[in-house]
């Protein structure tokens, strides 16, 4: 009998262990795009009022965060964003290690709660990043979450993986025991009133320092941080087509760059690398112990502008884009990736959009602090759902036109 009881207790304990959310949880679970998450923030009433009142400042406030039954205590949160900053529905950055350098959550140092104020559909950012990932472009993991602050619903948010050392480790893996995340990570800083298209700005490092915010190795010498960027920009501007690949290739992953701008064009991102007001919205990473840089996608919430967004829009404006695509091999790759994107999107993009809309629908309707009405959401939703089919056709036709291939049916 005693043996039976002991066995029973062990079985119950085992079952409890299996069902424990803590044991099973990983950051992949947190960013699982198939799940509408729920995140609770608990912070002092005064602090929440202060954060909303001073939403243009980057002041940190302490909070506790609960997800899926797990609470992480004393995290730091602050208002974030550029044009998306809001006093009623603040975009938030959550730093788990703000007040204790050793505190991580599911291996993460931080995450971003995107307030979705610039996207009345609520799914452009998450759809774009999933699509990039399908195409092998480095992009953060994302899903949606209901956010509750002190028990009250604070709106529908995008739950976004921070582009930081942790993500670099995930993306670039390890060589032996050495995680490849000790390179130099930069967030591109859009300087208001000073659009930049990769033109050389002189040998002084200040202009590059202003445009590339360093996120790792901040204490290193300025020459070590921004010197290679100055050199890259100079070489891109000064090198002839004949020497371009052999000169620039070791300093920039050119095939990855072309894949990135081509995919960004496919999703009709008007405020990206070849943006309407110069470059914008990306991270830039110099690999560990290397002089080679790569681009990392970021902030695509104004993508899907229109289906007939020109497939070579502003490619001539940006020095890096123009000089790279002057090389026949890269020009060919550019159109090839557009075709690949169209193929990838043909059986995936619209169903994915529909799935995400279904997932967030109630949360979006119940979000009373968003800066648009439910009617506006419904209208934009229908417009977005019409994008995939029209865009796929348009891109296929335009690529055929550009490359001299046979035009598919349906082209105008």
């Amino acid at each position: 009998m005693r043996q039976l009881i002991r066995t029973g207790v062990l079985l119950i304990a085992f079952a409890l262990g299996l069902s424990s959310p803590v044991a099973a949880q990983t950051s992949d679970d947190l960013f699982n795009p198939e799940v509408l998450q729920r995140i609770d923030l608990w912070l002092n009433d005064q602090d929440w009022a202060k954060l909303k009142a001073a939403f243009q400042e980057n002041t940190y406030y302490p909070a506790d965060m609960t997800w899926n039954g797990t609470t992480v205590y004393n995290v730091g949160i602050r208002s974030r964003g550029l044009g998306s900053r809001s006093s009623t529905k603040p975009g938030l950055r959550v730093d788990f290690d703000r007040y204790n350098g050793g505190q991580h959550f599911l291996g993460l140092k931080s995450l971003v709660l995107d307030n979705l104020t610039q996207d009345r559909t609520g799914i452009k950012e998450t759809t774009a990043m999933r699509f990039f990932t399908r195409l092998g472009i480095i992009a953060p993991r994302e899903t949606h979450t209901r956010l509750y602050v002190n028990g009250s619903y604070a709106g529908l948010y995008g739950l976004v993986e921070s582009v930081d050392k942790t993500m670099m480790g995930r993306v670039f893996g390890s060589i032996g025991d050495n995680v490849q995340n000790d390179g130099y990570l930069f967030e591109y800083n859009y300087v208001l009133g000073s659009p930049w298209r990769f033109t050389y700005e002189g040998s002084a490092l200040a202009p590059y320092k202003a445009r590339f915010d360093i996120k790792t190795n901040e204490t290193h010498a300025e020459s070590a941080i921004w010197g290679p960027i100055e050199e890259l920009v100079r070489l891109v501007n000064d090198t002839s087509s004949a020497l371009f690949e052999q000169t620039i290739g070791p300093k920039l992953d050119l095939p990855a760059f072309v894949r990135y701008i081509s995919a960004q064009n496919f999703i009709a991102q008007n405020d990206g690398f070849n943006g309407y007001d110069g470059m914008n919205n990306f991270f830039f990473y110099r690999l560990e112990n290397s002089s080679k840089h790569v681009f990392i996608a970021w902030d695509e919430d104004v993508a899907f502008l229109q289906p007939d967004f020109g497939i070579t829009t502003r490619n001539e404006d940006n020095v890096l884009t123009r000089k790279t695509l002057e090389l026949p091999a890269y020009q060919s790759q550019y159109f090839s990736v557009l075709s690949e994107a169209a193929a990838s999107a043909s059986d995936w993009l619209r169903p994915e959009m529909q799935r995400q809309f279904d997932m967030i629908h109630n949360a979006m309707l119940e979000d009373t602090v968003k800066p648009y009405t439910n009617a506006e959401y419904a209208a934009d939703r229908e417009t977005l759902l019409a994008f995939p089919d029209a865009r796929i056709t348009y891109v296929r036709c335009e690529v055929a036109k550009q490359t001299g291939a046979t035009r598919p049916s349906g082209c105008q």
């Binding site: 002092n44 302490p62 205590y73 004393n74 204790n100 350098g101």
Partner: protein, 432 residues
Amino acid sequence: MTRASTFALILIALAAQPLFAQGKKDKDRRGFVWDDRPTIVFGKDVKVAVTGRALVEWRWFDPDIGEDLFALRAGRLGVKGELTKHVDWEIEREIGAGDPNKEDSRIEFGDWKDVFVRWRTYDAARVKAGRFKIPFGLEQNTGVSELDFAYRALGSQKIAPGRDTGVMVSGALGRLGYEAGIFDDDGDNAEFSENQFVEEGQDLAHVGPSYAVRVTGDLFRALGVDGRLRSANLGFAYTNADVPEGLNSLRGESFWGTEDFFERVYVKGRRQRFGAQFDWTPGPTSLRAEWMQSREQRKEQSNRNQDLSDFIGNAWYVAGTWFVTGEDKDNNIKIRRPLLKGGPGAIELAARYEQLGFASASKSGTAFTNPRADYLTPNTDSVFTFGVNWITSKWTRVIVNAIHEDFEDATRTPEPGTSSFWSGLVRLNIVF
């Protein structure tokens, strides 16, 4: 040469005046006389004197923490006087020299310092009203011309309240001295430095009123002990104030004030200070020690609006001095061989060890630097100061100090990642 430097040189020149004026005082004269300082005597027990001070410093730092290498640390001008034998008064204001690196730097008036009137008819009960130092802290209540080091200990600067506006009764009852007062706020050292957050319709809150009491006594003299121990003096002090909600706590600043090694935390409720002091000056030596603690309540200050454990500041120091030239350390140091009479002046060696640290009463769970954490990551600054004081006259002294700071938490220092810092200074004190 900047205007600030010019001002410093003018004060140095002025300070030379009293050197030559020594011995000229005439207490029976009326009109302008030199009574340790420029004084106008209107009659018996009615006079007005001009007071002033300038502290000029040359400093060095290792590692460099971005501090200026020259500073007119504090300039003050004031007047003080007696109205009758029953009443005396004082008015003193800080003079700031603008940015010494700017060509157009100007000498500007700064904060009011002592501004008070005192009724002193009875030794057992003197009444003082106005702005003056709250009776907490031996060193904080010691005038700058009598300090043994260029700077007061960190606890005297950060935990002791300093000046405020209020009313105080003080006096001597046998071997016991007492001071008790009520003050508008809680002292300059506890003043808010950040803007308060108030929602529409709310008024700005302020600290206080605060209450302070200090009792001192010649312990060994009272016990009938004779000899060198007669000069030992022991004291205890206490303050109490209500602090409004916000980032209003006391804080730990590094020695040069370049960085908070413990930033303010959210508090609400009662702030108490407890202090004990010991002062002993046998012959040419002295031994001084103080301990003080602050305890601040944090009602409803957690992330979930619940009470947190008290925020506690602890500070103490032990300091010793020795006049190698043999002067008696008791009040009114009389230089045995004055500089102007061919002697070396008075030379004193000094050393002090001190600590100032902040932490929470709670020590359970994981510690955080979050200003709303129940268990706050502690940090303490431990400081050695070694000094030589060269007292050249009643009004002037040169202080040489070497200071070594060592922080418990290397991430919260003037240069994160570095835990130990050396600095030094040569200061010219001119006080009249």
